[in-house]
């Protein structure tokens, strides 16, 4: 056997012998299943969005041709302008902008109030247990299982007695109350998982109820605040039922107004305007998800595992 033969033999052997990183097969059944499912679900969710986007950018003439999937030949932003500032609901013809600003005026106080009250309640339930605090928490959680419809009318009466019925603050109050069960649960479980010795150390350091909350607990709990914030933004923004029941037409949130635009029966159905209006309405939660999705997942995981 010559020297060359030996080296070849060794090289061949080393090529076969398992060594180093294990080779990966991109077409393994597992990968096909995984990515296949992901692709199918992506299409399932993205296709309607695509159709909406395309339709909203077409003129009515193009829509009448009937091919919903074809991209617009002539891109027009007219439907968006009309949806935002000209579409009619009843006697008002100033488009969705009115509803948008109503929703903003409902969202901001509801968000601040519900998240802060829930955080504080969770903090008390986790760190300053009192006699019956567990029972209180149980009752609070029960609230999550009561259907809204049952409470609609009693709440109308309560708001009437409080003199808040039909006002924006009445709706803010309703949103805050309904946010409690799930958000208190989130905050409490997150705070319970914080090391107990931190509270002890803070007490030795002379921090009181508020000092511990604002200087120790809140700075450590950004993820759960983001989670609660996202849940509240989307929940309040997408709410239709409370908006239509507890406010007057001049305070209707965007969702109610969207419904009124899309469901108006006079004249031609302007699909492009409807699509544009729907996209505009969905824009806020969409943007929130895009910018905080990662924090959201982290917070959910942290809140869910420990409890």
């Amino acid at each position: 056997m010559s020297a060359t033969e030996i080296t070849t033999a060794t090289r061949n052997a080393s090529a076969v012998a398992p060594r180093g990183a294990k080779p990966k097969n991109p077409f393994a059944p597992r990968n096909i299943m995984l990515y296949g499912t992901l692709i199918i679900f992506s299409i399932y969710y993205l296709l309607p969005l695509y159709v909406m986007l395309v339709t909203s950018l077409k003129g009515m003439a193009e829509i009448r041709v009937g091919n919903v999937f074809s991209p617009p030949v002539e891109i027009t932003f007219q439907p968006w302008v009309k949806a935002w500032s000209e579409a009619c609901t009843g006697i008002n013809c100033d488009g969705l902008s009115r509803g948008f600003w109503n929703s903003v005026r409902i969202l901001i106080p509801s968000l601040i109030l519900s998240v802060s009250v829930a955080a504080l309640t969770g903090y008390v339930l986790a760190c300053w247990r009192f006699k019956g605090s567990e029972i209180f928490f149980g009752i609070l959680l029960l609230g999550a299982f009561i259907p809204y419809q049952v409470l609609l009318y009693p709440l109308v009466i309560i708001l009437r007695e409080l003199g808040l019925f039909g006002s924006l603050w009445g709706l803010v109050l309703v949103h805050t109350v309904f946010a409690m069960p799930i958000n208190v649960l989130l905050f409490r479980n997150y705070f319970v998982a914080l090391p107990e010795e931190l509270f002890k150390a803070a007490r030795v350091d002379g921090a009181g109820f508020w000092g511990i909350f604002f200087r120790i607990v809140v700075p450590m709990s950004l993820p759960i605040f983001v989670v609660s914030g996202i849940i509240q933004v989307t929940g309040i923004w997408n709410d239709f039922l409370f908006g239509v029941v507890y406010t007057r037409p001049e305070n209707y949130p965007m969702t109610v107004q969207l419904n009124n635009i899309v469901n108006s029966v006079q004249g031609v159905k302007e699909y492009n305007v409807n699509m544009a209006a729907t996209l505009l309405t969905g824009l806020v939660p969409l943007v929130v998800y895009f910018f905080s999705g990662r924090l959201f997942v982290r917070g959910i995981a942290a809140g869910a595992v420990k409890g």
Binding site: K200, A201, A202, R203, V204, G206, R215
Partner: protein
Amino acid sequence: MTHSIEIKELKLSFGAVTVLEDLNLQVGQGEFLVLLGSSGCGKSTLLNCIAGLLDITDGEIHIQGRNVTWEEPSQRGIGMVFQSYALYPQMTVEGNLTFGLKNARVPKDEIAKRIARAAEVLQIEPLLKRKPGALSGGQRQRVAIGRALVRDVDVFLFDEPLSNLDAKLRADLRVEIKRLHQTLKNTMIYVTHDQVEAMTLADRIAIMKGGQIMQLAPPSEIYNRPVNKYVAGFIGSPAMNFMEGQLDSTAQRFDTGRGLDFSVQGYEFASAPTSGPVWLGLRPEHIQSGRWAEGQPVQLEALVDMVEPMGSDTQVWAKVNGQDLRFRMDGQEAVAIGDRMPIGFDPARLSLFDKTTEKRL
């Protein structure tokens, strides 16, 4: 003011469960007291009561002559160090050290002075601007000690401060804590389950079990004259050998009743010598073997059962007339399973406990 800390008839119960009952304790000025016990014995609970982190059910707590029973932890004049360090993760080291001082509205220049002093004592100056997450375990615990230090208090409370560290760091920091105590001369109460920490650090050790203090004494007395069988078995590693048997009517001879008997002449009885059923305790390190057994007042022959070489010394499990006995011998001596070797000990080093009360005789 003779006592730094005085606890009178302390009682703590959660609902129907009583954790501490009728507990009295006095700690002298500048004393280093270690609360030692296995988990669940109430040692950490007692420390939390002293700190004011737990509301007590009954009794009084005095710190530096002041009745602090109803005071908040921050007003008791204590600093506390926790097992998990409990540093505020979002603050820098400096922020951690100043948090308590800012809460107490200490003037700025005074804060700076105290931080500088604590940083110097603990050698954490280079770490002041860092967050706790960027520190190693030993550094974190140093900062935690610093946080207690800057409070400028008379009493330090340590709640198993070294339990989260690895063995080498633990030994290093143990020495540092001892040095710190020698420099500062503060009163310190230190909770641990580690008997080495307790023996090395303490001026006095309080051994606790079931919410009660079994023995409160200097380390050497705890080691040499344990008041009961529990303390005797708890202190010392490897643990003390115990033999069941009878003391004869003269209280001079011990007999297991299974073929082993020897004289206990020379044993110092705590009270008048009594006969009857007893537990006899003998520390493994007090048994001499091989040629060192010669000249010991009691001499026996052991059959080697098992050998655990540790380098510096060797632990031997042996049988003596049917009685299991563990002893220690020089690590350089050769020994094998099945060997027969002479052993001997001095009855003055024994501990005898009453069979039923398990109290020292």
